[in-house]
């Protein structure tokens, strides 16, 4: 009797999974601590998510956002961290990702994880095949994936291979895959980092729609404007601890407010003030034409002419897929394309660049947009990555001086503020933003005259972005010519002295800083497409 009474008293906090009301926490993570060798990634983190909301998780690079979500989704199994996870009122101990998926927690990682040579349908049911007795039922696979594609609003044949659709659509397929697993809590780790405006917009809309269906989501993003657009609450993580949770409706919640929570101080300007000391014309690309490497007769870059002055930051703006990366790569030692024609001039002299080695020797550097697959040797340490393109600077007669190498790397680790215990840390153990800084350091060390930056702030937090802009400005002040490729219009407008607009492999506009605005850039693109 006594027992019953006691439990009766507790009744309000005692409920069955499933019948929640909207204000209940679907997830409570309590005192989560996770230590890597040499790094305390999470320190007593508390994180609560209300059922049915979109909850944004923000914080600087390396704050521990991805790690926290990896703990939640069972990637780090119980025992590798300490603390409690309570999901739908029950304490959960996940041994692996399968366990958490069974409960309806699905994570979509910072890097998409799909099989490029399998079809959309196959990818949706990968690991969860529509099969009886081990024999796959292809009809039901495709019929059912069709249904999920409809829900995410993607009009593609389910037989299309993943490699043949763009990143935006791939992202939607990932969400369709999550839906197929009967998702209750969807975790998205920087889903829009690699998407263009339109695709990002679609994705966010989809999140709002899923919210109506009662699906809770956690959104990790460095794009605070979209966080404000969709999130009901925002939790700020800093150095592995929860700083605060802001709720919508609080008058406090604004971009500046969030930034203050993240970096611990007010960030007055998003872009450092900078007046370029523009010199004479330094670098020119003339009548540049490039053909597709495999498809015969397909022209990718068409009659491009650009010039950059000494000390000038020139932006190349455009939509994703407009050919900017291809252009940059083809200039950088013919790293892309076939039948390349046109000329490259430095200080009015024609350069003969046959390969990437030549390009580097001639003072060119290209910071890739895709740091994991093209920028870094992930299994090696910071030091080896930074010295790689310029080993001749730390070696004599081909013998590397390790001391010299360490000194150089340590220097960049400090100046670029790379968060890691030492330069001997393997790059794969760094957070996304810090990896980007390593790529940047690597190319700054090669001491180029012309630095081509391709989406250099992708996946980077506001504070670090500011640092990177400052670094870029300093390089320009040293008299280097900078080509800055970015899909984020505000950034291009904030950083560049002059902007070329590219569309479908053509330069469709050239704007001076004072004439440039989001509208004028978009106008150029629309006029020519």
């Amino acid at each position: 009797m006594k027992d019953l009474k006691a439990s009766g008293l507790d009744a309000p906090s005692f409920y069955l999974p499933g019948d929640f009301n909207m204000n209940k926490n679907i997830l409570e993570m309590k005192n989560i601590t996770k230590v890597f060798p040499g790094v305390k990634a999470l320190n007593n983190v508390n994180f609560h998510v209300v059922s049915g909301e979109i909850h944004a998780l923000v914080g600087e690079n390396g704050a521990g956002k991805s790690t926290l979500m990896n703990v939640l989704s069972g990637i780090y199994s119980h025992g590798q961290y300490t603390g409690e996870i309570i999901f739908q009122g029950k304490e959960c101990i996940f041994k692996d990702i399968k366990d958490s998926e069974k409960m309806g927690i699905v994570i979509i990682h910072q890097e998409l994880a799909m099989v490029p040579y399998l079809s959309i349908g196959e990818n949706i049911f990968l690991g969860n095949e529509r099969a009886k007795a081990g024999i796959i039922n292809w009809d039901s696979t495709h019929v059912e994936s069709e249904k999920f594609l409809k829900r995410v609003g993607l009009k593609e044949d389910t037989h299309t291979l993943i490699k043949d659709i763009g990143v935006g659509k791939q992202q939607l397929v990932e969400i369709a895959k999550a839906l197929s697993k009967n998702v209750k809590l969807l975790i998205l780790d920087e889903p829009t980092a690699a998407l263009n405006e339109e695709d990002s917009e679609n994705l966010l809309k989809l999140l709002m729609e899923m919210k109506k269906d009662g699906i809770t989501s956690i959104l990790i993003s460095h794009k605070l404007n979209e966080v404000l657009k969709v999130a009901d609450s925002v939790t700020v993580l800093c150095d592995g601890s929860t700083i605060e949770t802001l709720k919508k409706g609080d008058s406090l919640i604004s971009e500046d407010r969030i930034i203050k929570g993240m970096v611990g101080r007010e960030l007055v300007d998003r872009y450092p003030k900078h007046v370029s000391k523009k010199g004479e014309v330094y670098f020119e690309v003339k009548d540049w034409n490039v053909y597709h490497p495999f498809i015969d007769g397909k022209k990718i870059i068409k009659d491009v002419n650009i010039k950059v002055h000494r000390g000038e930051i020139v932006g190349i703006s455009g939509l994703m897929g407009s050919g900017r990366t291809e252009f940059a790569l083809s200039v950088f030692g013919k790293a892309y394309g076939r039948n390349i024609s046109g000329s490259i001039l430095k200080e009015g002299k024609k350069l003969q660049i046959k390969n990437i080695r030549h390009a580097i020797k001639n003072g060119l550097a290209y910071v890739t947009e895709d740091r994991k697959t093209a920028g870094l040797i992930l299994m090696q340490d910071i030091k080896n990555n930074i010295s790689l393109p310029s080993l001749d600077k730390v070696s004599k007669q081909n013998v590397i001086s390790e001391n010299e190498e360490i000194k150089v790397a340590e220097n960049y680790r400090k100046n670029l503020n790379i968060k890691s215990p030492s330069v001997f840390q393997k790059v794969c153990n760094l957070s996304g933003g810090n990896q980007q800084k390593v790529v940047l350091g690597k190319w700054i060390f090669s001491d180029p005259d012309v630095l081509i930056l391709d989406e250099p702030t992708r996946g980077i937090d506001v504070g670090a972005k500011y640092e990177i802009y400052t670094i870029i400005n300093n390089l320009a002040d040293q008299g280097k010519s900078i080509i800055f490729i970015s899909s984020e219009l505000p950034e291009v407008l904030g950083v560049c002295d002059r902007i070329y607009v590219m569309n479908e492999g053509r330069i469709v506009g050239e704007l001076d800083r004072k004439d440039a605005s989001q509208e004028s850039i978009m106008k150029c693109i629309i006029r020519y497409s």
Binding site: P37, I377, Q380, N384, P389, N398
Partner: protein, 412 residues
């Protein structure tokens, strides 16, 4: 004065120091278990066979034989680990190339009576040419190494058998046999001792140089304020290595001294250890194996690196072929069967990653020694050769499984 006093008057101090040392030791072992695991395993295997063979494994004669009989695996493993580093590429043709080079030297020396040095130079050039042939298809045409070298295995085995008409060429002149059967002459042989003093002296000098280099490295690191392991651990490690070097040279001294093969192998190990860790081309191989696309975009001509890796493999295979032919004192169509498997196994036992970018020359050597000790230990204890094969297979699997598991543990 005071510090000494307070140290004595406080008995807690000593315990604390002990605890710190113990903690350090445990931490060190934990962090380096992957690095030293195979060395420890090698030690355990040696102890096991030492007991099993009632002490015969480490008899001076058997230790010398261990080097002589397994010299070829050690040489091949060095070349193979470079191929594996460059991106998980392997070379299945090395056994056939060894036999082919045997045939070449046999023809040149036994049939054509050519002088030894010219014959060896020609053999090495042919080895390089074979490497270039395979490297061309692998690096420039981008046919998977597995397929190119499988073809190479058939091609060179077939050509050699055809060339020798299925017969064995022999005998070689004494001088050529000396490559594998010879020893460094004892300069101190005047003494009435049953010991080869040269071998002892060599061991001593090597131990001295090693100690000097280690101390210099430590001081260098200290000067730059880099973290070093505790002095206590440093000394233990140093003493262990010195003890092994001295013990080994003592064993050699009790038999016939330093085999010439050991000098060849030692030189190769030194050169390639230095090459992989300290030189620019060495770094390129690691970079390419780690991420070829990133390496390319950093200005590395990855095709050339891959090509040269195979040329190098061809040369090393030809050195191994010469050593082996000299030991057999014959060029035979059946020579070198399964050599490639021993060499590949040695690399993986030694911690190389099958995807490339991870591994060391020293690791491969340790792996090759594991294979060698297994070979000899089992032969001495009269294990059936069929069972020997099965055991080696099992050890390979366990070694790699252990490696994979210990790395997984570390990364979490």
């Amino acid at each position: 004065m005071e510090t000494i006093k307070s140290g004595k008057s406080n008995p807690m101090r000593k315990e604390k120091v002990l605890i710190i040392i113990l903690n350090n030791l445990v931490g060190f072992l934990k962090n380096n278990i992957g690095k030293y695991a195979m060395l420890i395993a090698l030690g355990l295997i040696i102890i096991f066979f030492q007991i099993r063979t009632e002490g015969r494994l480490l008899l001076p004669m058997n230790v010398t034989n261990l080097i002589l009989q397994n010299g070829y695996v050690l040489i091949l493993a060095i070349g193979m680990v470079l191929c594996i580093l460059s991106g998980g590429n392997i070379d299945l043709s090395v056994g056939a190339v060894c036999a082919f080079i045997g045939g070449v030297t046999g023809t040149l020396i036994v049939n054509m009576k050519m002088d030894m040095v010219s014959a060896i130079i020609i053999a090495l050039l042919i080895g390089a040419a074979i490497g270039a042939w395979q490297g061309f298809w692998i690096a420039y045409v981008r046919i998977p190494s597995f397929i190119v070298t499988l073809a190479g295995m058939l091609i060179f085995r077939g050509l050699n058998t055809y060339w020798l008409k299925g017969l064995t060429l022999s005998p070689f002149p004494k001088k050529f046999q000396q490559i594998s059967a010879g020893f460094i002459p004892d300069i101190f042989s005047g003494f009435e001792l049953d010991l080869n003093v040269t071998a002892l002296m060599a061991g001593f000098v090597i131990a001295l140089i090693y100690t000097g280099l280690q101390i210099k490295k430590r001081l260098d690191r200290k000067k730059q304020n880099l973290k070093c392991p505790m002095i206590f651990l440093f000394v233990i490690k140093l003493m262990l290595v010195v003890a092994v070097i001295m013990g080994f040279s003592y064993l050699l001294a009790q038999h016939k001294g330093i085999p010439i093969v050991l000098v060849i192998i030692g030189t190769l190990i030194l050169i390639y250890h230095f090459f992989t860790l300290k030189t620019v081309p060495g770094r390129y191989i690691y970079a390419m194996g780690g991420n070829e696309k990133a390496a390319k975009l950093s200005g590395i001509n990855t095709n050339k690196v891959l090509f040269l890796t195979y040329v190098n493999m061809g040369v090393l295979a030809s050195i191994a072929g010469i050593v082996f032919t000299s030991r057999l004192n014959a060029a035979s169509p059946q020579a070198g069967v399964n050599f490639e498997l021993d060499a590949i196994a040695a690399c993986f036992i030694g911690g190389a990653s099958a995807y490339g970018g991870v591994g060391t020359v020293v690791g491969a050597i340790i792996g090759a020694l594991v294979m060698g000790v297994l070979n000899n230990g089992m032969s001495i204890s009269n294990v059936d050769s069929a069972i020997q094969m099965a055991v080696k297979g099992f050890v390979l699997l366990m070694a790699v499984a252990f490696d994979v598991l210990s790395k997984k543990k570390l990364s979490q």
